[in-house]
């Protein structure tokens, strides 16, 4: 059971700024269980095309798509089911609610061939599941964004699909609604036990929602694993950047051991990591901005402890809940991006600070 996807497709994508069209080649394969899977990547990485190929709205050039043992597409045996025979639950980015039908008609639209009493029963079941009772008589134009989203979900789930596909469903919603709907999706996955593929480009959404994250980059699956694996052991620089590791040191040397781990040297600075890098000479590593700790400068704090540096604040961006600071380390041209709690420090530019990074937060990748 689960979803097995392996497909390749070449298509023209609009060149940026009206330039020439680029030929984009998608070459994706992954296998997931009946779990909540997040397809994660930048826009233009092929997430939506992958989802549309699974739904049958686009046709790959070759490959195969199997959902819960049912073959949707297989180029070798020439199988290519029309979307109306795949019947995936699909939630479109713009909701795609039928504007000429009220909520009731929208939700029961997929219940083809059901008798009226059963349709009605299912309708109220769905309204209850998504907490939208009382909206059944309204038209889509009379709904708020969050309500539209719930109706779209109800419509997708009403015919009991084998798989639920969600294309950036929460991108237009505010924070609070988004968080509530995320919880809703999680519960629904547990209740129904069907595979859910969810597209997002938000690292936070990917981490908080997923049982499994599939990272797409430039039309390929770069990494697939639990959120913890992907966020804390990114396989390469691109994935590291995608999951929010913005302080990256490329192609440094492994120069030795210390009690806390391996010593890495790059751009004139030495870092200690608790990751196992035995057997490699040259590695890249990175640190998340939120894993860098800053303290007001105090000579007494500068010790021989690992990953303690002195530095100067170059720039501060107040994000409200925290501050993003650019800190230049003494004796090098290394500038670290640090995400620190708002009230921790005097944020004057040019102020001196002590930088501390735990050895386990120095993430090593290829």
């Amino acid at each position: 059971m689960g979803v097995k996807v392996s497909l390749s497709k070449k298509y023209r994508s609009r060149g940026r700024k009206g330039g020439r069209d680029d030929v984009f080649s998608l070459d994706v394969s992954f296998e997931v269980g009946n779990e909540l899977v997040v397809l994660f990547g930048r826009s233009g990485s092929g997430k939506t095309t992958t989802l549309r190929c699974i739904a049958g709205l686009e046709t790959p050039e070759c490959g195969s798509i199997v959902v819960n043992g049912k073959t949707y597409y297989d180029s070798d045996s020439g199988v290519d089911l029309q979307p109306q025979y795949r019947r995936p639950g699909y939630v479109f980015q713009n909701y795609a609610l039928f504007p000429h039908m009220d909520v009731r008609k929208n939700i029961v639209y997929g219940l083809k061939g059901w008798d009226t009493a059963k349709k009605e029963e299912r309708l109220f079941e769905m309204l209850r599941l998504l907490h939208i009772e009382g909206l059944e008589g309204r038209y889509p134009s009379q709904l708020s964004g969050g309500q539209k989203q719930r109706v779209a979900l109800a419509r997708a789930l009403a015919p009991s699909p084998d798989i639920l596909l969600l294309d950036e469903p929460f991108s237009a919603l505010d924070m609070v609604v988004r968080m509530r709907l995320r919880e809703r999706i999680k519960t629904i996955q547990k209740e129904l036990g069907i595979p859910i593929l969810f597209i997002t480009h938000s690292p936070e959404e990917a981490f908080s929602l997923a049982d499994r994250v599939v990272v797409l980059h430039e039309g390929q699956v770069r990494q697939s694993g639990s959120p913890r694996e992907v966020f804390y052991s990114p396989v390469d620089r691109d994935v590291a950047e995608l999951v929010g590791v913005s302080n990256i040191f490329e192609d440094g040397d492994v120069v030795g051991n210390s009690p806390e781990g391996f010593v890495l040297e790059g751009r004139g600075m030495q870092f200690v990591t608790s990751s196992d890098v035995s057997g490699s000479d040259i590695v890249s590593w990175g640190v998340r901005p939120e894993n860098i700790h800053l303290m007001a400068y105090d000579e007494g704090l500068l010790s021989d402890e690992c990953n303690v540096f002195a530095g100067t604040v170059l720039d501060v961006t107040d994000k409200g809940s925290s501050k993003l600071m650019a800190v230049e380390l003494d004796g090098s041209n290394v500038v670290l991006l640090c995400d620190v709690p708002t009230r921790l420090l005097d944020d004057a530019m040019g102020s001196r600070v002590i930088v501390n990074i735990a050895a386990q937060d120095v993430l090593v990748f290829e």
Partner: protein, 222 residues
Amino acid sequence: MLEDALIPLSITLKVAVLSTFLVAVFGILISYALARRDFRGKWLADILVTLPLVLPPTVTGYLLVVLLGKNGAIGSFLFETTGWTLLFTWHAAVIAAFVVSLPLMVKTTASAISAVDRELEYAAYTLGHSELETMLFVTLPLAKKGILAGIVLSFARAVGEFGATLMVAGNIPGKTNTMSLSIYTAFQSGNDALANILVITLVVVSLLSMALAARFVDRWSV
């Protein structure tokens, strides 16, 4: 005298209603194909449908005579198989009105269909509906305004049709003399009284049908 006006009126209405009905059915199908399907020679189909809009009606009429006449490609086939001649019957007037008003229907309807969000059609497919069901219950209802506008324009064009009708159906009293043809004949033969009655009747009927259509469009496009 009044009878001289009523017969042309009934011929005009018969021809216009029937041709508008045909235009609506074929126009919607052609518009859907042009707006939503990819097929070989689509550009050619588009040009052929639009051509009568550009050509003078007499040229369209002439081409129809060539096609539908006893020696024409379609006409000779019809005559040999059924013994039926189309030219100079009110059926030919229907065909002439159909051909000249089809581009008006197709242009408005195809652009209305193109304006319907494709995601809505995709959504209907994923909910288990075939392309035909989706067209009938999603695409066409959402393109309703354009379709109704196309029908109204086509009807108006059919009522006013003159040139092509004269070429293919002639001006046979009691058979093919539509309002516009009769007005011309009455005016030419100096029968100003009849011309006046015909003109007034046509204006009144046109105003009434437009008013009716407007109410209909209002009620249905909410």
